[in-house]
Amino acid sequence: MNHMPRLDTPRLNRRAFVIGSAALGSGLAVGLDLPAGGPTVARAADGSPEVDAWVVIRPDDTVVIRIARSEMGQGSLTGLAQLVAEELECDWSKVTTEYPTPGENVARKRVWGDFSTGGSRGIRASQDYVRKGGATARMMLIQAAANEWKVQPSECTAANSVITHTPSGRTTTFGKVAEAAAKLSPPTEVKLKDPKDWKLIGKGVKRLDTADKTTGKMIYSIDVKLPGMLNAAIKQCPVFGGTLKSYDQAKIANMKGVKKVVKVGDNAIAVVADTWWHAKTALDALPIVWDEGPNAKVSSASIAKWLDEGFDPSQPVYVGNENGDVKSALASAAKKVEAVYTYPYQNHATMEPLNATALYTPDKCEVWCGTQNGEAAFAAAVEVSGLPASKCDVYKQMLGGGFGRKGNTDYVRQAVAIAKEMPGTPIKLLWSREEDMQHGAYHPVTHCKLTAGFDANNNLTALHMRISGQSILFSLRPAALVNGKDPVTFQGLNASGEAAFGYSVPNLLIEHSMRNPPVPPGFWRGVNVNHNAIYVECFMDELAHAVNQDPLEFRRKLMANNPKHLAVLNAVAEKIGWGKPAPQGIYRGLAHFMGFGSYVAGAAEISVVDGNKIKIHRIVGATDPGFAVNPAQIDRQVAGSFVYGLSGLFYGGCTVKDGRIEQANFDTYNSMRIAEMPKVESVIMPSGSGTWGGVGEPTICVAAPAVLNAYFAATGKRIRSVPLRDQNITFA
């Protein structure tokens, strides 16, 4: 892909787009008033005409497709390009991509829509308008050719970047008519293809961004180099909510390479030096006194106690899903089953630690960073620099992993704040792994008490589920709370919608006692389905065993009203061989769930040695995302999500002691290695019913409960808390 701007020539090329007047022939920065009269053509930096906002065509027929969402490994850069190219009817081998900048998006009245890349929305939330962007450009290219030939556009077709006038057989290429097409007014009515006519959507084409990732040439944010750039290392108060009290700058003033010590906000201190290694070395030597504030005694135990108090019936709750009358149904139940589950904090631990580079002058602020939300990073730059939006911009770089962490802007704000203290000098701020690990935006901590009631015939008549714990929206997006309730808490538990509960229970109550400890939460790949799926699917397994029923058959009876949920569950059951004898010493578990608009299920085959060493022999994942734009990349997302989710199950878990996170690096917050991960057998089964689901996150949540249920099958021991590390269970 093309990065915009190229990093080696930032000053020449930092404005990726110029808009030119055909009459004047000279480039003007986007956002300036256009001269009156004459058609105007928006141009890419190299002067090639922009047919519409999504499509630039170069004279050599190269097609440049604009991508608004961020690529962090999930593959949506390629998938989005496929969507545009499908309607454009261009030659896929000639496609390249580039990022518009958030500043340009604002200047052009958000012509590229939303830049945020989270919630597995990259494709599903933009598929309609990016396909229209491709179709619009195709119609304009055809119109331009028809004008030249003085024929009706309806007599012309486009395929593979070639336009053909059918009656005469004349042909031309996109590159030849792009200049003329760019001067036309876009059509008012644009019809998209019927999915049955798709040629490129649905095809597992290779990613567009691979080659540079194999040679070291790909530039991530951490690799940005600017002339005269200095490097900053940062320490934030280790206790959440604490502040910086004092520091002894004189102690490090003479250390090699040190240029400046900068207080950042009220809770952090940064050292700026010629190299990052010098900055970090000096920062480690800097005497710092923190005011640890009110949370200095908070611990995992104190948080757990407070969360458990949320189970008391007297505590206020928000109701997420309710039907029937759970209380009386439980009171009259012939049999009751009750269990408490817990899920811990998790750090994203992106391979590329947080970093951003900022250049501030009194009349300009520019930021180079990997971000999942370019516009939020832009807003942060505007706010912290104090400059008007027209004088700021953000240049998005390839992300070395995101998983939700890089939608936050804390690191961008810090970089701009430091750069503001050194006007004219570009500052690259890089967090150490330790800083990254201990100042995360953590997967929220929750506990869950589940109570079920059966009638005398072993029919499930009541299910009461009370989640007690942290809300992400409360901290990150309070405006999205609904009368105080965090609707995202109920992901996968809702009565309907994109994250709906798959079971019909006559008396159901799912509620949330919101408790927000002083550890900052964030959106961690999968978000709330990670724990909700464990709570529901492990408990369903418990219930099946409580009434001596097969876990699959038990679920099926409750899923008759949810055929799509059932379809993916059936798919994994079939693939894993459920109901057929397993090999000697191998045990099976399964789970299903729904989130981000997709129906997902998982099944595992494991063996257990000495009661505490697990080997996963097989693992199956099924997903129905509605439409599958690129099955090869979906396959990788299913597998990748399982690695991430199972890493969290086995090795993850961030614990709190003295108000701070205890884990500081991969030695204490480990991640799965190749030896531990079997091949993931994926079943991609798009039902094509009109809804578009995500693929980056949904499957993550079914791997853990499938393995936990298999562990019960193998040992008879029910695990109700994560991570397994803390229960002395690991990989064989």
């Binding site: 194999t214 040679t215 991530y220 951490i222 391979m351 590329e352 990788r636 290695r673 991960m677």
Partner: protein, 149 residues
């Protein structure tokens, strides 16, 4: 001052002798394909070859690297042609975010030099790099593809 031989070229760098080789490669020499991931030799993102052996460069001081042949991801391809591991990575569409892949590729290239036809067990023992995107399946398939080519 230290004289380093990286990708066949000599670099004279003015750094303290205990500076980790990783940071000298990235900041003083300016080759950024070698990545920082943990700084404690756990993740393998900084893997380079030192005298042909895969080493985690964050755990090697620059003084220990003097006089050795250092190869980074930028020096793996020879004579304008990609190394067979790089080509296999492209053919098998291995990288997701790609950040760990420089180190992964360097570790795999060293393994294949020692064992041209590694078993799954050989791979499990030799390739211990962390990949948070979870590309392990493609990594394994690509290694076997090279071995069977």
């Amino acid at each position: 001052m230290a004289n380093l031989t990286i990708n066949g070229k000599t670099f004279n760098v003015d750094v303290e002798p205990d500076t980790p080789l990783l940071w000298v490669i990235r900041e003083n020499v300016g080759l950024t394909g070698t990545k920082y991931g943990c700084g404690i030799a756990q993740c393998g993102a900084c893997t380079v070859h030192i005298d042909g052996v895969a080493m985690r460069s964050c755990g090697v001081t620059v003084s220990d690297a003097v006089g050795k042949q250092i190869t980074t991801i930028e020096g793996l391809a020879g004579n304008g042609a990609l190394h067979k591991v790089q080509q296999a990575w492209i053919d098998n569409d291995v990288p997701q975010c790609g950040y760990c892949q420089s180190g992964m590729i360097m570790a795999v290239a060293a393994l294949l030099k020692e064992k041209p036809k590694p078993t799954d067990q050989d791979i499990n023992e030799a390739i211990t790099n962390i990949c948070r995107c979870g590309t392990f399946q493609q990594v394994r398939e690509a290694i076997h593809a090279v071995a069977n080519a």
